[in-house]
């Protein structure tokens, strides 16, 4: 671990889902309460700043309807109110722990009953952490300081709440921004079902996605998988995701489709040919509809149909290109006619 690394942690603090996580049910045999989660998280954060003196850290919280920065190691406010002389504690640990806990407490207290129902602002926290990484990386490149120039930024998202379909586009935009900044996004799904969006985030940025089987062993997962920076992790073979669903859901019925119909103007996806795009109100020519409807029987067949059958029921529409003629294609064409 020669180079200093920056870690941004995004903590999902949804009260509803933390309550569910801490109650013991049939599915949730090993409950994890927010209190024990936070104490394990703090140990992890402390070990990150203890790994190397130059390591930097930022912690963001995603609360219902708002996102807050809980701690950052760069803007240390002078005259820190948390600063109490304690001979037994390493001072940076003390500051970090006190600041994170007090900021969470302050924000949770101000949550009103109306806020509870709102979805957590994961997008806001994620884009804030990107803004912060952008700030420290541009600052270090202008200062041309060797120590800070070699930052290896990464983001760790600790998620408990499920995907919200409304935040699909902003999440994807943040993922592409992270890709551009060469930021790795790691996902640790502490509670709840698999998150498709976050799986894609980890896959597209080269991070790892971990769904905890035993949530009470959180600290072990964190230190084994997420403490080493990505450059070292290649040697450690951290679990990666193999099955990532890249299929899309149609905008009309939210059905997962294999073959979709896409508006050329706004890229809305439909599961069947429609005369007017519901998103941008574009009217499609009647000729296209007829052509696509003629090609539809293939679409109607379920996705699980063996490939032989689909090949046989290939439509003889003009969607078969005549340009790339090779041996295999001519046989397929012959077979379909």
């Amino acid at each position: 671990m020669d180079r200093a690394s920056h870690l941004s942690v995004v903590v999902d603090l949804s009260p509803n889902h933390w309550y569910l996580s801490s109650t013991r049910t049939q599915q949730n045999a090993r409950p994890l309460s927010l209190k024990s989660f936070l104490s394990q998280l703090l140990v992890f954060l402390n070990s990150h700043i203890a790994c190397k003196d130059e390591n930097t850290l930022a912690v963001f919280g995603a609360l219902p309807g708002r996102s807050v920065m809980l701690h950052s190691s760069t803007n240390e406010s002078s005259g820190n109110p948390f600063e109490m002389a304690d001979a037994d504690t390493y001072r940076p640990f003390k500051i970090l722990d006190a600041e994170v806990m007090q900021t969470i407490a302050r924000h949770v207290e101000t949550l009103g009953p109306s806020d509870i129902k709102k979805p957590v602002e994961l997008v806001g926290a994620l884009s804030k952490s990107l803004c912060y990484i952008n700030r420290i990386t541009t600052a270090s490149s202008t200062q041309s300081n060797e120590q800070t120039a070699a930052l290896d930024p990464r983001i760790l998202i600790l998620s408990v709440s499920p995907d919200q379909s409304s935040s699909y586009i902003p999440i994807m935009n943040s993922i592409f921004a992270a890709q551009k900044l060469k930021v790795t996004i790691d996902i640790c799904k502490v509670y709840g079902s698999e998150s498709v969006f976050l799986q894609q985030a980890a896959h597209l940025t080269g991070g790892s996605y971990l769904h905890l089987e035993r949530a009470d062993a959180l600290l072990q997962y964190l230190t084994m998988s997420f403490l080493p920076p990505p450059s070292i992790r290649q040697l450690l073979s951290v679990p990666t995701q193999d099955k990532i669903d890249f299929r899309a859901a149609c905008f009309c019925h939210k059905r997962i489709v294999d073959i979709g119909f896409v508006c050329s103007v706004c890229l809305s996806i439909f599961c069947q040919p429609v005369p007017v795009c519901s998103t941008c109100r574009t009217k499609f020519p009647i000729k296209t509809l007829q052509r696509l409807n003629a090609a539809r029987p293939t679409v109607a067949t379920p996705a699980t149909t063996p490939t032989v059958q689909t090949a046989l029921s290939l439509p003889s529409s003009n969607s078969i290109k005549g340009t790339n003629v090779n041996g295999s294609q001519s046989t397929v064409q012959n077979g379909s006619r």
Binding site: N75, T138, P170, S264, K283
Partner: protein, 450 residues
Amino acid sequence: MPPRRLEPGYHDGESDSDVDIFDDFGASAKSKGKGKGKAIDRGKKEKGKGTSKEQPYAWEASYTRSWDTVQEDEAGSLQGAVEDLIARGRRRRLLAPAAAIRRTIIRHLILLLDLSSAMMDRDMRPTRFDLMLQYAREFVTEWFDQNPLGQIGVVGMRAGIGERLGEMTGNPQEVLKAISERHKLEPTGEPSLQNAIDMARSSTSHLPTHSSREILIIFGSLTTCDPGNIHETLAECVKDRIRISVVALAAEMKICRELCDKTGGQFGVALNEGHFKDLLFELIPPPAQRATAPNARGGATAPADLMMMGFPTRLPDTSPPSLCVCHSKLKSEGFLCPRCGAKVCDVPTDCDICGLMIVSSPHLARSYHHLFPVKTYQAVTDLDDTPNPSSSCHGCARPFKNAPQQMAGSSGEGMSPLGRYRCPDCHNDFCPECDVFVHDVVHCCPGCGK
């Protein structure tokens, strides 16, 4: 070869490397005569233009020394100059329409490279040819980043003929491979615009109507050696709605200007290396479709269409190896076409067997930010009407300056003296860096999550 018109109010003196970051957005809205980095090394230019010495040079009209326009402040720092650059980026963005506009998302571009002997000229370092290849590579990478559903083909013009270097493909690696081997592209002979455009036109003839057809010509020669009447070719291109853009490295030619004007493309003459890159990169963002401009823009009257697309199944690295249809190689990873079950190596592509367009959902999502841009933040000029102003930036938590800062001269418009920019939706304040970053990279406001 008339001298190029300069914009009268143009303020000179940016250093070229610094402005690149602002060029990603709204560039299509700008006029083709945009002269950036006009203050160039004069001696070097004249050496390169020995053939046309009697012509009046455009830059003689407004020759300014770039180092004079950069003002140091009392402390000798260049902070003011840097902020001036940011201000200009902001203003440029304000010019771009804030509302969601219709853009050509599915693009098909033919990159037409001049491989005539004029490209061996050394007025751009190391040679025009090497520089063109280098920038073309960067262009292709960035182009695919912003137009993930687009396709690029490469055609070279040398020794009087058009030469197909790379087929139309949606895979950046294949395009890069086509222009990677320098020794195969060695410039020779005269270029022929007509032959090359005809070849490019024929390779776009099969494309569907909803996609844009574009030709980008990088032209270093001052002559063209055509077998017939090039105006007929031009008329054909107009008929086919092909948009031609030209980046000339030597000087303006009447026919090049006409090609661009009649087809709705952009024309520019590169003044120096940085400006060459700027001109190229201006063509990267998807062009806006303008319904109000008849026959001006290539894709203006192109009808909207419904496209059939397949979302493939991704095979993991651990699956048993099988042959792919594109390279006939034994591989374990790949994507299965949902219609015919063929295995292709990379998406987006058209299935080689059944011709279905195969995309993955992130490719579609990557284009969404062109369609739903973040609203432009408003500059906060005073805090009198804000009851409880935040002390730090909502994005990166950088503390704001308390005292208003004096803005240098005319650059102050559109800039906040407090360094605060407010989102019109969520009313959060952002610092100038985050303002630029949010609009250029993230495309998603940290305050309102849109």
